[in-house]
C-alpha cells in the first residue's frame, strides 16, 4: 500500500480488504445462503432493485467470511469489484499486454487477479456487459473453475477462496438486456427486495444518524412511494436514497425539503408524479 502526497491511498485491487465490519442488517436467510455457497464454491447471483443493499451485502459477506475463516485481515481474501458497462471487453477482465519501453508487459485483469488470489470477484450490473464478455466466465463457474487466458495461451485454475458473484437488476430488464440462460443457470440467485418498514427504519437510522422517528417516517414514506411502482414510477425509492434523506434531516434540513431533493426529484422528472409524491411527503412529515 502506498500513500499519495495528497493523503489518498492507492492500493492494488487484490489488496483491497474490508477491515471494519460494514453495517448490514440481515433481512432473510441470505447470510446463511451465501456462506453455504461460498463453502461449496457455488457462484452467486444477487437480484434486486437498485439501492436495496446488494453491494453492501457482498462487502459484509467478504468481511464476515474472512472472520469466520479465522484469518487475519491482513492475509484475508480481498474483494474485487468490477462495474460492468457495454464496452467492457474480455481483455479488460482477463488482462492484456502493455508497452513498456521497447518491450511488452502482461498485466492481469481483475478476474485473473481474483482467480490467482482466491478473492471474491463481484461483477456489478452484469447485464450491462457485452454478451461475448459474459461467456468468458462460463468455465469459471462450473466444476472446472478455470480461466482461459487466450493471449498467453494459459489456463488459470482458481485458488481456493475464489468466488464469482454477480448482481443484476431485473427492474429495467428489457429484451435486449437480459441474462442469457446459459449464464444465469450457473448461479444460485438470492433475491433482494426492500426491507420491511421496521427494519428499513433501523437501517436508515443507523446509516444516516437521524432520529428513530425520522427514520420511521422515511421508511413509511418509502413504503408508500413503492406502491407507485408501475403506476408512474419505474422503480421504487431505494434505501440508499432514504439514507441520504436521513443524513440531510440529521444535518438540520427541514424533512420536507430533504425528501424533496433526496427522494422526489431524484426519483422522477414527471411533474405530476413529483407532485403526487410531494403530497405523500407532506402527509407524512409535519
Amino acid at each position: 500500500m502506498t500513500t499519495g502526497a495528497a493523503g489518498f491511498q492507492q492500493i492494488a485491487v487484490e489488496d483491497f480488504r474490508i477491515t471494519e465490519e460494514p453495517f448490514y442488517l440481515p433481512i432473510n436467510d441470505e447470510v446463511e445462503l451465501f456462506e453455504t455457497a461460498y463453502r461449496d464454491k457455488i457462484p452467486v447471483l444477487l437480484k434486486g432493485p437498485t439501492g436495496a443493499g446488494k453491494t453492501r451485502f457482498v462487502e459484509y459477506m467478504s468481511w464476515r467470511l474472512h472472520n469466520r475463516e479465522g484469518r487475519g485481515h491482513e492475509e484475508g481474501v480481498p474483494l474485487i469489484t468490477v462495474a460492468c458497462h457495454e464496452d467492457l471487453t474480455a481483455s479488460d477482465l482477463v488482462g492484456r499486454y502493455l508497452l513498456e519501453g521497447d518491450a511488452t508487459k502482461w498485466i492481469d485483469g481483475p478476474i485473473a487477479r481474483a482467480v490467482k488470489n482466491g478473492a471474491i470477484c463481484y461483477l456489478d450490473e452484469i447485464v450491462e456487459a457485452r454478451k461475448d464478455t459474459t461467456v468468458l466466465i462460463h468455465p469459471l463457474t462450473d466444476y472446472r473453475r478455470l480461466l482461459p487466458v487466450e493471449k498467453r495461451g494459459e489456463l488459470l485454475e482458481a485458488a481456493d477462496g475464489f468466488l464469482l458473484v454477480m448482481s443484476y437488476n431485473p427492474g429495467y430488464q428489457s429484451a435486449l438486456k437480459d441474462l442469457k440462460h446459459s449464464t444465469r443457470q450457473r448461479f444460485i440467485a438470492i433475491e433482494f427486495t426492500y426491507p420491511p418498514r421496521d427494519q428499513e427504519a433501523v437501517i436508515i437510522e443507523r446509516e444516516s444518524g437521524c432520529t428513530a422517528d425520522a427514520a420511521m417516517e422515511l421508511a413509511k414514506l418509502a413504503e408508500k412511494v413503492r406502491n407507485l411502482k408501475e403506476h408512474g414510477l419505474g422503480e421504487g425509492v431505494s434505501t440508499r436514497l432514504l439514507v441520504y434523506a436521513g443524513k440531510l434531516i440529521a444535518a438540520g434540513i427541514a424533512p420536507r425539503r430533504a425528501c424533496q431533493v433526496a427522494i422526489v426529484w431524484a426519483l422522477t422528472d414527471d411533474l405530476e408524479v413529483q407532485r403526487s409524491i410531494e403530497e405523500v411527503v407532506a402527509s407524512i412529515f409535519e
Binding site: 481483455s91 511488452t104 406502491n227 407507485l228 403526487s276 405523500v280 407532506a282 402527509s283 407524512i284 412529515f285
Partner: protein, 1095 residues
C-alpha cells in the same frame, strides 16, 4: 219650445234613417248644449253632425259619437274649439268613419290628459296610421281607442314615438302591430315612469333590428325588467339599445339572456355590473352583453374582488389589445385565457384538475390500484349511493365531489381534497370493510357471537310461547350484515358504528400521517362549528350527535342533560377506545354494540318535553375520562317521558362522507363470486339473501318508496349491483398500458354483440378572431373501427399487383436510415485508437493479433412512425368523375375504321366492365391507397397507424382506429380497412390534435402525420355561422402547427382540385399536395411517403 227641441224635431226623421238611437243621442246632446251655445252655433253644431252622418255609409256611427261626446267636450274646447274638433273628425271620416268614430269617442278622455291645442297633433298621428286598407283603419281606430290609457303613462311625443314603431311594424305585419299597440297601455303602465322612455328607445332598436322580436319584447320586457334593481333599469335599457344598434338581430336575445342572468344576481350588484358592461359596450357591445350573461357563473367561482380582476383582464383585451372578438370570446368563457384567469383567481379546486394527482396519492397510500372519480359517477350507477356532493368509497375506488370551495383559499381547498382522499383511502388501508363476525378486537373482546346466540334463544322462546314453529333465519350475506342483524334499531347501530369507525380511521390517519394532522384538525373543527342545532333533536339523536361532536375533537361542543350525564360519559369513554393505537374494525363494532345498548334505552323525546332537562355544557366532565368499555350498569336514571320523534342519524361530516360497510362487503363478495370465488365463503348468494340484505339495510334510503315501488327498486339495485360486480375493479387507466384485457372468453362471436367502446378526449379549438383557444371545445370519440371482410384487401392487392411489387422494392431500398456505430471491423471508415494500440502491442508481444481496428457508422435501423388520417366525410361518397370514356377503337383514334362490329365489341366490353366494377368513389381510392401503403410499410418496417375521422358537431368528432401505431398488422386490420365508409362532416382540427396525441405517446425519432382529404374542413358549428369557412381553416392550420411544435412532420394530401386556394392559407409552410388526377392517389401516396420519410 226650445231651439234644441226644434232642431231635434227637424232632424228626427233624417236621423232615424241612420239608426234607432241617433235621434235620442242628438236630442240629449242638443239639450245639454243649448245653454252654452248661441242659437246659431247650436245650429252649426247640429249641421256639422248631420254632415258627418251623411258623409258615408256608416259615418252615422261617428255622428252618434259626436253627439255623445259633444256635451263633455264643450267644457274643454269652448265654442271655437268645437269647430276645430269637428273639422278634425270630418277630415278623418273622409278616410274612414270608423276611425272618426273612435277619435270622437276617445276625445273626452283624451282631453283630460291633453291640452286642446294638442288635439290636432293627436288626431294626425292616428291619421298617419291609416293607409286606406281596412287593416290600417282598424289599427288607427285602435290607436284612438287606447290613447286615453296610453297618455296616462306618457306624454304625446312619446306616444308619437311608439306610433312610429307601430307604423314600422305595419310594414311587416298588421297583426303584430295591432297586437303590440293593444298591449302597449298595460305595458307602459307596468314600467316605471322614468324607464318608459328608455323602454321605448330599446323597443325602437329592436324593431329596427328584428321586427318580429318586438312582440316578444312587449310581452316579456316588463317582467324581465322587474327583476332588475329599479334604479338600474334605465341604464340596462340604454345599454341594450346601444348593443342592439350594433349587433342587430341578436339584440333582443342578448337582452333577454342578460336580464335573466341579472335576475339571479343580488340587486345591489347590478349597478357595478351594468357600469362595467357599459364600459365594455364602448368597444364591443357584444362583449358587454356576454359579460352580463357570464356574471352569475363567474360569481359562483370568484369573490367580488376577484371578479373585478377577472373582468379587468377581459377589458384589457378589448381596450389595450383592441381585440373585440377576443374580448367577446373571453366574456363568453370560450377562451383559454378566460379559463386560465378564472382558475388562477378562483379558490375553488376542481376535481378534474387534481384527479391525476389524487389518484396517484391514493395509490401510494393504499398500495392498491384505486381509481379516483367524481361522486356523480357513483350516484349514476344507482347502487345505493345517493349523495354526489361528498366523498365516499365503494371499496375499490374513491369518489370525490366535483369541486371543493369550502374555504376562500385555493391551497386550503386542495387540502380539503387531500383530507377527503386520505380518509377514504384510510377506510381501505385501515380495514373498515374487513369486519369479520365475532373476532376480538385489540381493546374490546368479541361479544357478537354471544349476542347472536342470546337473540336466537330469545326468539325460540318467544315463538314457543306464541306457539309457532321457529323458522331458521336467512343466512346473512356478509359478516357486516350478520352483525347489524343483531340490532333491532338498524339506523341507530349504523349511525353509532359509523361514528366509531370514522373516529378510528381519523385517529389512525393522524397517527400514520403526521403531516396531514393539521389539515384534518382544521376540517374537524370547521365541521364541529357547523353542526346542526342539538336543541331541536330528540334525545337519542342528540346522543349520537354528541358522540359525533366528540369524535370531531370538540367535546366542549357536547350538550347533554346533567341528569343523564352518566350515559354520555360512558359513551364518550367507549368512543375514546377507538382512538387507541392498534384498534381495529372489530373494536369499532364491539364498541358500537356497547354504546348501542345505552342509546337504545334513551327515548327519542324532544328536550322541551323533559321537565328539568336542559342541554348542559359538560365539557369538563367529558374531556377528562379514560377510555373504557361501558360497564352496562348505568341503568337507574329515570328516563324522560314524552312523545317519541322519529330517529334519524345526524348528518355525516362532509370530509368523512357516506359510509356503507354492508353494501361494500356485499359488493366485494359478489365480485369474488363473479371471479370464480376461490374464497372460503365462495358459496353462491341466493336471491333471497340479497333481497333480505337490501330490504333491511339502513344504508339504503328507501323511505320514499311505496311497497310496490320498493320491490322494483330493490330489483333494480340488485341488477345494478350485479353489473357492478362484473365490472373490472380498480383504475381503468392501469389497463391502458396492459397488453390485453383479461381474456373473459371474448371471442369473435361475442364481439359483435358488445357495444362499441368509445373513449372520449377533449381538445381546444383555435378561434382566430379571439386569437385564443376555446378550451375543451371539441370532444373526440375514439373507437375501434368496425370490421368487414378481407375481400377488399386481397382484391386491391390483385388489381395493383404490379404497383405493389414496385413500391415494395422502392421501399425496401430506403431501409437503412439512421446511424449506428459498428466496432471491431476489419475495414471501415474510422480508426479506433485503443484498438490500434492494442493491435500494435499484440504484434510486438508476438501473439496472433487480430486487425479488427476499424469502426463504421452504418445506416441500420429506421425509427419512423407515421399516422395516416383519412377523411371519412360524406363527400368522399362522391363518384370520381372519370375522363369521358370514349371509344378509341383499339390504340388510336385515327385507326377507327368505322366498323360497327368493332364498336359494339367495345361497347359490350365496357358494359361488362361497368357491371363488375361499380363506379369508384373517393373513399374507395382512399382505401386502395391505404392497402398499398400498408404493403409498402410492412416491407420497410416503419411503425404506422391508420385512422379515419368524421362526425357531426363539436361534441361528436368520430375517430376510427383502423390500425393503431403499436398494433401489429393482422387480418382484423384488413377487415377494418374494408369498413372505411363515408360518414358525415370534416372537423379536421380535433382529429389532427388527437392524432398528435397518439404520435406523442409513441416513441420514434421521426414522426409523420399524413392527412388525406377530399376538400376543405367543415362541420356543423365549425365557424361563426354556416357559411363561414375561415374559422375551420384557421383551426386546422393551428392544429397542423401544433403538430410541428410536437416534432411531427404534417403533410396534407387532397384530391380537391380547387384545393389550392385554402390549402395555401392553411398550410403556410406545411407540405401539401393536390393530387390532380384523383385516380393516381394510390400510386402517388407511397411516393410521397418515401420523400417525406427520407427527409
Amino acid at each position: 219650445m226650445t231651439r234644441a227641441a226644434d232642431l231635434s224635431l227637424e232632424f228626427a226623421d233624417e236621423l232615424r234613417g241612420f239608426g234607432a238611437s241617433l235621434p235620442e243621442d242628438f236630442a240629449a246632446a242638443a239639450t245639454a248644449l243649448e245653454p252654452r251655445l248661441s242659437e246659431a252655433r247650436l245650429e252649426d253644431w247640429a249641421r256639422a253632425g248631420m254632415e258627418l252622418a251623411h258623409a258615408s255609409l256608416r259615418s252615422w256611427e261617428a255622428a252618434a259619437e259626436y253627439f255623445r261626446a259633444s256635451p263633455v267636450v264643450i267644457d274643454r274646447l269652448g265654442e271655437a274649439g268645437m269647430t276645430g274638433w269637428v273639422r278634425l273628425a270630418s277630415d278623418l271620416s273622409q278616410k274612414s268613419s270608423l276611425m272618426a268614430a273612435a277619435f270622437l269617442k276617445s276625445t273626452p278622455a283624451v282631453l283630460d290628459l291633453l291640452p286642446p291645442a294638442e288635439l290636432e297633433a293627436w288626431s294626425q298621428q292616428g291619421e298617419r296610421l291609416c293607409r286606406g286598407n281596412w287593416k290600417s283603419i282598424a289599427l288607427s281606430a285602435l290607436y284612438f281607442q287606447v290613447s286615453p290609457e296610453l297618455l296616462k303613462s306618457m306624454p304625446l311625443p312619446s306616444v308619437n314615438r311608439l306610433i312610429d314603431i307601430i307604423d314600422q311594424l305595419t310594414e311587416r305585419s298588421y297583426e303584430l302591430a295591432t297586437n303590440c299597440l293593444e298591449s302597449s297601455p298595460a305595458i307602459f303602465a307596468a314600467v316605471a315612469p322614468a324607464d318608459r322612455e328608455p323602454f321605448l328607445n330599446f323597443a325602437r332598436a329592436v324593431t329596427r333590428a328584428s321586427w318580429a322580436d318586438t312582440r316578444l319584447y312587449f310581452e316579456r320586457g316588463p317582467k324581465m325588467l322587474a327583476a332588475i334593481a329599479p334604479e338600474r333599469r334605465t341604464a340596462f335599457l340604454d345599454l341594450a339599445a346601444r348593443v342592439t344598434l350594433d349587433v342587430g338581430r341578436q339584440g333582443f336575445p342578448l337582452f333577454a339572456d342578460a336580464a335573466q342572468s341579472l335576475a339571479t344576481m343580488p340587486p345591489e350588484t347590478h349597478g357595478d355590473l351594468l357600469a362595467f358592461s357599459s364600459r365594455l359596450a364602448a368597444g364591443s357591445p357584444g362583449a358587454a352583453m356576454e359579460y352580463l350573461k357570464s356574471a352569475p357563473f363567474i360569481r359562483t367561482r370568484l369573490t367580488p374582488e376577484q371578479m373585478v380582476r377577472w373582468s379587468d383582464m377581459g377589458a384589457q383585451i378589448l381596450e389595450a389589445e383592441h381585440n373585440p372578438e377576443g374580448a367577446e370570446a373571453y366574456f363568453r368563457l370560450e377562451s383559454q385565457r378566460a379559463e386560465e384567469m378564472l382558475a388562477a383567481l378562483s379558490a375553488r379546486v376542481e376535481l378534474q384538475s387534481v384527479n391525476g394527482l389524487l389518484r396517484m396519492y391514493a395509490k401510494a397510500l393504499s398500495g392498491e390500484s384505486v381509481a379516483v372519480m367524481s361522486s356523480e359517477n357513483l350516484v349514476d350507477r344507482n347502487i345505493g349511493w345517493v349523495t354526489s356532493s361528498g366523498p365516499t368509497t365503494e371499496g375499490t375506488s374513491i369518489y370525490l365531489p366535483p369541486f371543493v370551495a369550502t374555504f376562500e383559499d385555493r391551497e386550503e381547498n386542495f387540502q380539503v381534497y387531500k383530507v377527503f382522499t386520505t380518509h377514504q383511502t384510510g377506510r381501505m388501508e385501515f380495514g373498515s370493510f374487513a369486519y369479520v363476525f365475532d373476532a376480538p378486537g385489540e381493546h374490546a373482546p368479541a361479544k357478537a357471537g354471544e349476542r347472536e346466540a342470546r337473540i336466537a334463544a330469545e326468539r325460540v322462546a318467544r315463538d314457543a310461547i306464541a306457539g309457532v314453529e321457529s323458522k331458521p333465519a336467512v343466512e346473512a350475506a356478509t359478516p357486516m350484515q350478520r352483525f347489524f342483524n343483531l340490532f333491532a334499531e338498524r339506523p341507530l347501530i349504523l349511525g353509532i358504528f359509523t361514528v366509531i369507525e370514522d373516529t378510528r380511521v381519523d385517529a389512525m390517519t393522524a397517527r400514520e400521517y403526521g403531516g396531514i394532522r393539521r389539515s384534518l384538525r382544521h376540517l374537524q373543527s370547521h365541521e364541529a362549528q357547523h353542526r346542526p342545532a342539538i336543541e331541536t333533536m330528540g334525545l337519542r339523536q342528540a346522543y349520537v350527535e354528541n358522540l359525533l361532536r366528540a369524535s370531531l375533537g370538540a367535546p366542549e361542543e357536547v350538550r347533554w342533560p346533567r341528569s343523564m350525564q352518566q350515559y354520555m360519559t360512558e359513551g364518550l369513554a367507549a368512543l375514546k377506545l377507538a382512538e387507541l393505537e392498534g384498534a381495529t374494525v372489530q373494536d369499532s363494532a364491539e364498541i358500537a354494540a356497547a354504546i348501542y345498548d345505552i342509546a337504545v334505552r334513551i327515548p327519542n323525546v324532544s328536550e322541551s318535553s323533559e321537565a328539568d332537562g336542559k342541554f348542559d355544557t359538560l365539557a369538563e366532565e367529558f374531556t377528562s375520562m379514560a377510555p373504557a368499555m361501558p360497564s352496562g350498569e348505568s341503568g337507574d336514571v329515570e328516563m324522560p317521558q314524552g312523545d317519541e320523534m322519529d330517529f334519524e342519524n345526524p348528518p355525516q361530516p362532509e370530509f368523512r362522507g357516506d359510509f356503507k360497510p354492508e353494501l361494500v362487503q356485499l359488493l366485494s363478495r359478489m365480485k369474488q363470486m363473479q371471479e370464480g370465488g376461490d374464497s372460503e365463503d365462495g358459496e353462491a348468494l341466493t336471491k333471497e339473501q340479497l333481497m333480505e340484505l337490501l330490504q333491511n339495510s339502513a344504508e339504503l334510503d328507501l323511505d320514499d318508496f311505496s311497497q310496490d315501488e320498493l320491490e322494483n327498486q330493490l330489483g333494480m339495485f340488485l341488477d345494478n349491483l350485479e353489473k357492478e360486480a362484473n365490472a373490472p375493479t380498480g383504475d381503468p387507466e392501469d389497463d391502458a398500458n396492459g397488453n390485453a384485457l383479461p381474456d373473459g372468453g371474448k371471442g369473435d362471436a361475442d364481439e359483435a354483440d358488445l357495444p362499441v367502446q368509445i373513449d372520449w378526449f377533449y381538445y381546444d379549438e383555435w378561434d382566430f378572431r379571439a386569437s385564443d383557444y376555446r378550451p375543451r371545445w371539441a370532444r373526440v370519440g375514439e373507437r375501434i373501427s368496425q370490421e368487414g371482410g378481407s375481400d377488399f384487401y386481397e382484391e386491391t392487392l390483385r388489381r395493383y399487383h404490379g404497383l405493389v411489387m414496385e413500391t415494395r422494392r422502392q421501399f425496401e431500398m430506403m431501409r437503412p436510415e439512421s446511424f449506428k456505430k459498428y466496432k471491431r471491423l476489419e475495414d471501415g471508415d474510422e480508426l479506433d485508437l485503443d484498438l490500434a494500440i492494442e493491435f500494435q502491442i499484440d504484434k510486438r508481444a508476438g501473439i496472433g493479433p487480430q486487425a479488427r481496428i476499424y469502426n463504421r457508422r452504418n445506416k441500420i435501423e429506421r425509427d419512423v412512425a407515421v399516422a395516416f388520417l383519412l377523411d371519412m366525410s360524406a363527400s368522399t361518397d362522391e363518384e370520381i368523375e372519370k375522363p369521358r370514356q370514349r371509344f378509341d377503337g383499339g390504340d388510336d383514334d385515327k385507326d377507327f375504321t368505322g366498323d360497327p362490329r368493332q364498336y359494339f365489341q367495345w361497347l359490350a366490353a365496357r358494359r361488362a366492365r361497368n357491371n363488375t366494377e361499380p363506379p369508384k368513389r373517393i373513399i374507395d381510392l382512399e382505401k386502395e391507397s391505404t392497402v398499398l401503403i400498408v404493403e409498402a410499410l410492412e416491407a420497410i418496417g416503419d411503425s404506422y397507424g391508420i385512422y379515419g375521422f368524421s362526425g357531426y358537431g363539436r361534441d361528436n368528432v368520430e375517430f376510427h382506429v383502423i390500425k393503431d401505431l403499436d398494433e401489429q398488422m393482422s387480418e382484423r386490420v384488413k377487415h377494418r380497412i374494408d369498413k372505411i365508409e363515408p360518414i358525415r362532416s370534416t372537423r379536421m382540427g380535433p382529429a389532427i390534435r388527437h392524432t398528435i396525441h397518439k404520435l406523442d405517446e409513441f416513441a420514434a425519432k421521426v414522426k409523420i402525420l399524413i392527412l388525406v382529404s377530399d376538400g376543405r374542413p367543415q362541420d356543423h358549428g365549425y365557424g361563426r355561422d354556416r357559411t363561414e369557412k375561415e374559422y375551420a381553416v384557421h383551426d386546422t392550420k393551428q392544429a397542423l402547427l401544433e403538430a410541428k411544435h410536437s416534432g411531427i412532420t404534417p403533410f396534407l394530401i387532397t384530391v380537391d382540385r380547387e384545393g389550392h386556394d385554402y390549402l395555401k392559407q392553411m398550410c403556410d409552410d406545411i407540405g401539401y399536395e393536390v393530387v390532380d388526377e384523383i385516380e393516381s392517389l394510390p400510386r402517388r401516396l407511397p411516393t410521397l411517403y418515401r420523400h417525406l420519410a427520407a427527409d
